[in-house]
């Protein structure tokens, strides 16, 4: 379940020069529009032949310009879910789903069709024509079609971009099940941070055709030196936590993570179960010492790692909480009054926590 991509290519006056590796799972490609995300996917899929590059999935080399190897798209076994569903309009949903299976040379599994149909909940759509489907339904069928071709790698190019919010909420759980249930690595393009926080295990940040950062989701999200992440209103980090205990008397749940203990309003989760939480920078304040008279329950000892460059009203501060990364957004005035600098010991006061997914 490994993936290694190195590519250079020019499209007009846009240069793509990107390289990343991933241990599998769901690798999110994040960046502004025009950063080269879709171009990168098209090269991996074999729809564009790059000037030079190498693409390897699980030990199988799909492209290696140095060795003059470039498998055509239909022989790569790379599934592609496009921004729009691209279902074949002259075929029923059933035949669309079967289209890729028909060409798959990697042994059929008769139960697979039923499993995928069930996973994506598209059983009652099978006899319909694509024109009779809603956007969300069509995109689910497109995902199923790509899966049933038994790909060694699944590419998803903003699969939720053309879908309205309620439908998005409907599809995201399917993608989670896909990530957790199948052994196919996924590369997922998005410029929606909330999707990425919820879905990604590995994050690759693209800026102007180059990889600005790549690595484990929590690590990359915690960096304040990436303008595209740091300047966002919803900048923040994810933390993997374990449900430590419930306090029914106060209707609170205690979570344990590397950074320490956190109290949140009671959630329904068994003690010992794992969750991922999203702590936004704007929900974290800083104090030089632990305030004994504060109403804020969650106070974590931390150390300042670095401050983001800023000439605006606020500044993002990257913190090290016993090895875990946190971001705090404070005003520039406060940063100066507290004389925040790398190495300074502080208290991180966490005001709000969002839950992102069940592990």
């Amino acid at each position: 379940m490994t993936l290694a991509v190195t590519v250079t290519h020019r499209f007009g006056d846009f240069a793509l020069d990107a390289s990343f590796a991933s241990p599998g799972g769901l690798t999110a490609l994040f960046g502004a529009s025009g950063a080269g995300k879709t171009s990168l996917l098209r090269i991996v899929a074999g729809l564009v032949r790059p000037a030079s590059g190498r693409v390897e999935v699980d030990g199988t080399v799909l492209l290696d310009t140095a060795r003059r190897l470039c498998l055509p798209a239909h022989r790569r076994g790379v599934g592609y879910v496009f921004q729009e569903p691209r279902l074949l309009p002259h075929l029923s949903v059933r035949h669309n789903l079967g289209y890729g299976r028909w060409f798959s040379r990697r042994g059929g599994d008769p139960g697979e069709f039923g499993r995928v149909v069930e996973l994506l909940d598209i059983g009652r759509l099978l006899e319909r024509r694509p024109a009779a489907l809603s956007g969300g339904e069509a995109q689910r069928v497109a995902i199923g079609r790509a899966l049933l071709a038994r790909p060694r790698l699944l590419l998803m190019d903003e699969p939720l971009a053309s879908i309205d919010e309620p439908r998005k909420a409907e599809i995201i759980p399917y993608i989670e099940r896909l990530r957790d249930g199948s052994r196919v690595p996924i590369v997922y393009v998005s410029h929606a941070l909330d999707e990425i926080v919820r879905l990604a295990t590995t994050l690759v940040v693209l800026e102007h055709g180059r990889v600005a950062a790549a690595g484990d989701l929590a690590t990359v999200l915690g960096r304040v030196d990436l303008p595209i992440l740091a300047r966002r209103a919803d900048a923040g980090v994810v933390l993997d936590v374990e449900v430590a205990a419930h306090e029914p008397r106060w209707q609170l749940t205690v979570l344990r993570c590397q950074a320490g203990l956190l109290h949140v309003p009671a959630i329904e989760a068994a003690a010992g179960s794992r969750r991922r939480i999203w702590v936004r920078a704007r929900d974290v304040s800083l104090a030089l010492s632990a305030p004994a008279d504060s109403s804020i329950l969650n106070q974590l000892p931390a150390q300042v790692v670095r401050l983001a460059a800023s000439d605006g009203a606020s500044v993002d501060v990257q913190l090290d909480c016993s090895g875990a990364t946190l971001l705090a957004r404070v005003t520039r005035l406060s940063a100066e009054r507290l004389a925040l600098r790398p190495g300074l010991a502080v208290q991180a006061l966490v005001k709000g926590i969002a839950f992102e997914r069940a592990e």
């Binding site: 239909h74 599934g79 289209y99 694509p130």
Partner: protein
């Protein structure tokens, strides 16, 4: 008015046969040419395009004369085909079909090319990522989605072939029962005394066939567009 003489009926039947064979035989080549023009960029594309459209602008008599020189008994291609395949074009109905095919070819290619250009290339890309090799993409995506346009073009070319005159009469003359088609028969009737009634009858039939073909072609085209957009 509508009691056609045996000779007239022979001419009508022959015309139908000539037009049908002309379209059926040129269809595969027309599809291949249209696909090249619609989907491929290659040096010489302008030359191919010009060549395909030449019969539209060339005087039909010139096309007929060139066919005679090439496919006649002493023509380079004609002599070769006659010796090796026993296929004779000169002064045979097959020659009339060849002339009709050449004259209808630009129309056929144009209609098919438009149909193929309307097929969303993104669907072809999707098919490729699902494992379909290019010939299979063509057979399972491009062709079905362009089918109505192709049939509509074929109907038009069929109607055009029914009325082919200049190249036909130059290449294979006007032999009753062998090369005398609807159009050449009408021409003959206008040249002989007392042929007016027959000429009028055949002209009426000609008009009816043309209108029917146009209506059918238009209907197929609309249906095809519905299918491509899925509505």
């Amino acid at each position: 008015m509508l009691d056609f003489s045996p000779d007239e009926l022979t001419a009508v039947r022959l015309s139908l046969r000539v037009a049908l064979v002309a379209v059926a035989a040129s269809l595969p080549l027309a599809i291949a040419t249209a696909w090249l023009l619609a989907r491929r960029r290659f040096p010489g594309v302008a030359l191919l395009e010009g060549l395909v459209h030449l019969p539209l602008t060339l005087p039909p008599v010139v096309t007929g004369y060139l066919l005679l020189r090439l496919f006649g008994h002493n023509g380079v291609v004609g002599a070769f085909l006659e010796r090796h395949l026993g296929l004779v074009f000169a002064f045979r109905w097959t020659g009339a079909a060849l002339a009709a095919a050449v004259m209808g070819f630009p129309l056929l290619v144009r209609a098919i090319r438009l149909a193929i250009e309307q097929v969303d290339r993104r669907l072809e890309e999707a098919a490729a990522t699902l494992g379909a090799a290019p010939p299979l993409v063509f057979a399972t995506v491009t062709l079905p989605l362009a089918a109505s346009g192709i049939v509509s073009g074929a109907v038009l070319a069929f109607a055009r072939s029914m009325g082919e005159f200049g190249a036909t009469i130059t290449f294979v003359s006007n032999i009753p029962g062998e090369t005398q088609t609807l159009a050449t028969a009408i021409y003959l009737f206008t040249q002989v005394p007392g042929g007016d009634a027959a000429a009028l009858r055949l002209a009426g039939l000609s008009i009816a066939l043309s209108v029917a073909a146009l209506v059918l072609s238009e209907w197929l085209d609309r249906r095809g567009r519905r299918k491509v957009t899925g509505r």
